[in-house]
Point group: C2
Chain length 294, copies 2
């Protein structure tokens, strides 16, 4: 058997994505040793019960000590504090990566803390479900999905290559782009859809009681799809919207203008305008099916 | 073998729902004869090729002649004209029903044209996919979904019962409510979600070209679910929004207020407000799973 891709891998945060990554590391023998770090006792117990790591700790510094790869898999708001705590323990040549949905904020919060000789490779495996926690993870979650890496200018090519190999082993198609561009693309493909789904489901929860029970009963008409998205992890998504504020507000502004135009068309009975848009949106669906992302 | 539930059944419109209903009628032997009516030659050819009817015609009047049950399965905007054309051909005791998503407008457009002794039983099987046309239909589309009937005050109980039996045979759970209430419930569970999905997919189609191709590529982050909804039949949905204008605008207004509040929370970094909402919306998802509508 050949040597594993990494010696010691530390996963800081072991929720849906962190635990799925642990499962990939185990399945493919990609790590000499897996150290899992989780703040809550319940998560650490679950990780132990599921046998997802060789060692489990509540202390990020202890997890990062002598690690060859440290992957931050926590909500974004924890990054700055974690970076500060792991920095003194990182050995020269260690790679620090993450799986967060906003890359500008990730770099802003991690990079300044890292000592020279440690390589930062920010990453975002675009995969997930509406479920959370270590029990919800599974190795196949990454299969055939995209992983976006946003290396810093002048970053270490060998480190980038090794992180890329890791996600390819997980079944992902890996691309690189700059962090700012990533954050704009994800604002429209992921953050705005989540924001809207959360909103409409919230609007429904505020309905009169009689109406509310029927909303649940007749949810198959379209609403149901939104509730699935709006069941995603609350803390993770709170952090995403705060961390990608500029891009989300920009896309939200465009959306609101378009919605207002449709509202006006409905009010004035302008069927042609509605139909024209609905034909246009159908074509996008076809493109997604052709791109095998459906 | 017992007598079928209906003698001659005329389906006016043979798209996704009409053709699915034809398949149920055939599967369960619910009709002595099925007459299909479609305006376009292409649809009539497809119905013939698929063997979905005993007779096929382009003329609603011819289809309705001597029928025991006539079901309108066209977009809502065609109802008034169809009602006017079939009325002189309807025999006493005949039942007229429909499958449209807006019941107030359906009653407004059909009821005045019908002769005395003909029974109107407006219906809405809450089922569908993003696909259209007779090839897209399948008998199981109705299975375990709700069918809402909105009988008129003083309507014929026996006619209501027979239409109810038809949809129960299709596997549906049948409930009755008044048309106005139906239109309000569907505005939030179906019409508003579709409107929003159409809007966000439209917003994405207006993006700069470079961004647009990446939106398709990275659609798995949430956007994809919206594109499926926004691929639904353009003419049918144009009609739904125009026919249920008041209720849709009312729900849209509530949604917009809620979205504006979230926008403000993001702008001012009010994480608590975001998280509080996201926890609340999660609970709705659980209710839907418990109601077995997920």
């Amino acid at each position: 058997m050949s040597a594993p891709l990494f010696g010691r891998v530390a996963l800081i945060g072991v929720g849906l994505i962190g635990s799925s990554l642990a499962r990939v590391l185990q399945r493919d023998g990609l790590a000499g040793e897996i150290v899992a770090c989780a703040r809550s006792q319940a998560t650490r117990d679950a990780v132990a019960r599921l046998g997802l790591a060789d060692r489990i700790t509540a202390d990020p510094a202890e997890a990062a000590r002598d690690a060859d790869l440290v992957v931050l898999c926590t909500p974004l708001s924890a990054y700055a504090e974690i970076a500060r705590r792991i920095a003194p323990e990182l050995k020269p040549g260690a790679i620090v990566s993450d799986v967060g949905s906003v890359k500008g904020a990730a770099i802003r919060d991690i990079a300044p803390a890292l000592p020279a000789g440690v390589h930062l490779v920010p990453g975002h495996p675009v995969a997930g479900t509406e479920h959370s926690g270590p029990e919800a993870g599974f190795a196949e979650i990454f299969q055939d999905r995209w992983c976006i890496l946003t290396p810093l200018p002048g970053g270490d090519d060998a480190a980038l290559e090794r992180v890329s190999l890791l996600w390819q082993a997980a079944g992902m198609k890996v691309v690189t782009m700059d962090a700012e561009h990533h954050d704009m693309v994800l604002a429209i493909t992921s953050h705005l859809p989540h924001l809207i789904a959360y909103t409409i489901v919230g609007t429904a929860t505020d309905l009169e009681e009689t109406l509310k029970s029927e909303v649940i009963k007749f949810s198959a008409g379209g609403f149901r799809d939104f509730t699935r998205i709006a069941a995603s992890d609350p803390v993770m998504w709170r952090d995403v919207f705060l961390a990608n504020r500029e891009a989300v507000l920009e896309m939200l502004q465009r959306f609101t203008e378009d919605l207002t135009a449709l509202q006006r068309a409905i009010r004035w009975g302008e069927g042609d305008k509605l139909q024209e848009l609905f034909i246009r949106t159908r074509a996008i669906r076809r493109s997604i099916i052709e791109a095998k992302q459906a």
